[in-house]
């Protein structure tokens, strides 16, 4: 969004008049228009950033209308959600879009993140784009967690109880912090009210972070699957119409999947227990978080032993928070000069191992913590951290990467010695 200050001469005199005083049309033109040069070789993995933006807008719009019908009170919350489902015009549609939209948001963002890890999008000079992305993930997790509490079902209540109790693991001040978070001595009306308030606030924080994410991105512009910087004009094409069309096509495919769930399997990602109203005196036999938290939940439960002076409970909490925050220092753990895994034969294999390990952690997170699942979860957790603190630094030190092409167009037009000017 750091537009090169050029102002275009618009055909429409009104647009010209406005643009001279508030260069909003030039800003759009320079950010997502024909004056934003984009690498010509972006593949479909580059669709997921704009998809995440579209899902954010869908969530905000559907959330605003849902909030008009929802009552954040322990006596009415569950019933008001049932009323949305049965009595409010199209209420079922709005709620199912919002529910499944949360799952879609995480799918899209997780793919977006794995894209960044595979193609080295987090590397210089885009470290801040990546770090702001990690902050976005944290803000999304907080928003999703609090949103899940609002329907006040059994999983809402007990999920909120377990997660807020994590803070009681903090030495000395933990209990006071939990009381402060609750506004009482248990998850109750005060808690529900503040979660509603924050659930409405945080999407706008996310929106602000997205603005920073894009601002930082537009300074050095998008990376690309080859990981080499565009050198000549022939290496780039204008964002509009080429990538607006490509993004729109991807959006169409995505909406088929998204609405497929909304209309044909709306509760696919949900837990049946959440259709039972919250009861503070009965814990469900098997508490599981939403699927997008399962890998982190597995890491939380993997620490069943004291680590020196750190008790097991605090250790689990620290490991869970560390599993997200370690992503922020990835640009300094991976010192390889080559960005794209296409030219990193060793890293490529370990990337897929890491990916498989994340899926495994997700499976473990959904199983009861007993029997052989405990050692498997501990091994997978250990591997998760080893990947970052040992494997990645060692690979970037010892791997012999292949030589990337000189430029984006050189990779395509091998016959021509001059690598510019092709279009």
């Amino acid at each position: 969004m750091s537009a090169p200050g050029k102002q275009k001469d618009w055909k429409n005199p009104v647009m010209n008049w406005i643009d001279y005083r508030l260069p909003i049309f030039s800003f759009i033109e320079n950010s997502v228009g024909s004056n934003y040069p984009t690498p010509r070789n972006l593949n479909y993995w580059w669709n997921f950033g704009s998809l995440a933006g579209v899902v954010l807008v869908i969530m905000i719009v559907s959330g605003i209308v849902l909030a008009m019908q929802y009552t954040p009170h322990v006596d009415y919350a569950f019933d008001s959600v049932e009323r949305i489902m049965r009595d409010v015009n199209y209420g079922w549609l709005l709620r199912y879009v919002h529910m499944n939209g949360a799952s879609m948001f995480f799918i899209v963002v997780y793919i977006h993140m794995f894209r960044g890890m595979y193609f080295g999008s987090f590397k210089a000079p885009r470290e801040l784009v990546w770090i702001i992305g990690v902050m976005l993930l944290l803000a999304m997790m907080a928003t999703a967690f609090m949103g899940y509490v609002l329907p006040w079902g059994q999983m809402s209540f007990w999920g909120a109880t377990v997660i807020t109790n994590l803070f009681s693991a903090i030495p000395l001040i933990g209990e006071s912090i939990v009381t402060w978070l609750w506004g009482g001595f248990s998850v109750d009306n005060a808690t529900l009210n503040r979660f509603f308030s924050l659930h409405y606030l945080l999407p706008f924080v996310i929106f602000g972070l997205v603005f920073l994410h894009l601002w930082a991105l537009h300074v050095h512009r998008s990376g690309n699957p080859l990981g080499v910087d565009p050198k000549t004009e022939g290496d780039t094409i204008p964002f509009h119409p080429y990538y607006t069309v490509k993004d729109a096509f991807g959006l169409g495919l995505f909406m088929i999947v998204f609405l497929g769930f909304v209309f044909f399997a709306p509760d696919f990602f949900g837990e049946p227990d959440n259709y039972i109203e919250a009861n503070p005196l009965v814990t469900p036999a098997h508490i599981v978080p939403e699927w997008y938290f399962l890998p982190f939940y597995a890491i939380l439960r993997a620490i069943t032993f004291d680590i020196f002076i750190i008790p097991a409970k605090l250790g689990g909490v620290l490991a869970m928070f560390a599993s997200v925050s370690i992503l922020a220092i990835l640009p300094w753990l991976d010192r390889s000069k080559v960005r794209s895994a296409r030219f990193r034969p060793v890293y490529k294999q370990f990337f897929w191992l890491f990916f498989a390990n994340c899926i495994l952690l997700g499976i473990i997170g959904g199983k009861p913590a007993e029997g052989h699942w405990i050692p498997i979860g501990q091994a997978a957790t250990a591997y998760y951290f080893l990947h970052f603190i040992l494997i990645i630094p060692l690979i970037s030190k010892f791997e012999k990467p292949l030589t990337p092409p000189d430029s984006i167009s050189a990779a395509v037009i091998k016959a021509e010695p001059d690598n510019g000017g092709a279009s």
């Binding site: 109790n165 978070l181 001595f185 913590a369």
Partner: protein
């Protein structure tokens, strides 16, 4: 102007800048406190912080669950067997050592906050027919913590014994919790 005076001016300005910023930061801190403190339990929540219960109908070996501060409280009238097991286990290897006499002022009555000290689930074992775990007390189904007949943690991830709330017996049949 000599160099000395300009230095002096700079110093005076530095002082004013630092003093103004300090007062500003302190002021913002003071102004933030009402916002933070408003999220702590309100007066009406605190007003509900004690509750009186009638225990005359509980038979030996029975337990009831009452609500105190929005939390379940287990009241168990223990059998002679349960009391002696609990007292004998005082010297067993306890993760959170406490004697049974300290936890139950009147040995027959064991009063506990019914919340697992791991992550806040409600342990099973207070109703007849529920599993009571390996130590015949309570068992938390969430992550598998076992508590004994004194509500002490014996096995599993919970770090502490079930909490004993403040309580006193007003008369033979009434106990006030909180």
């Amino acid at each position: 102007m000599t160099e000395e005076t300009s230095d002096e001016t700079a110093n005076r300005r530095d002082f004013l800048t630092i003093a103004t910023s300090t007062v500003g930061v302190a002021g913002i801190g003071l102004a933030a406190w009402p916002l933070v403190h408003s999220m702590n339990p309100a007066a009406d929540v605190l007003a509900l912080s004690s509750t009186e219960i009638d225990i005359s109908s509980i038979e030996v070996g029975q337990s009831i669950t009452v609500v105190w501060r929005g939390k379940p409280v287990f009241v168990r009238r223990r059998t002679a067997d349960e009391i002696s097991t609990a007292a004998n286990d005082d010297s067993a290897g306890l993760p959170d050592p406490e004697t049974d006499a300290n936890r139950a002022a009147m040995p027959e009555w064991l009063i506990l906050v019914g919340i697992c000290t791991h992550l806040g689930c409600i342990p099973l074992g207070n109703k007849t027919g529920e599993i009571r775990g390996d130590f015949n007390g309570w068992f938390c189904p969430c992550h598998g913590s076992h508590y004994d007949t004194s509500g002490r943690i014996r096995k599993g991830p919970a770090p502490k014994n079930l909490e004993v709330p403040p309580y006193n017996f007003i008369d033979e049949t009434t106990v006030k919790i909180g």
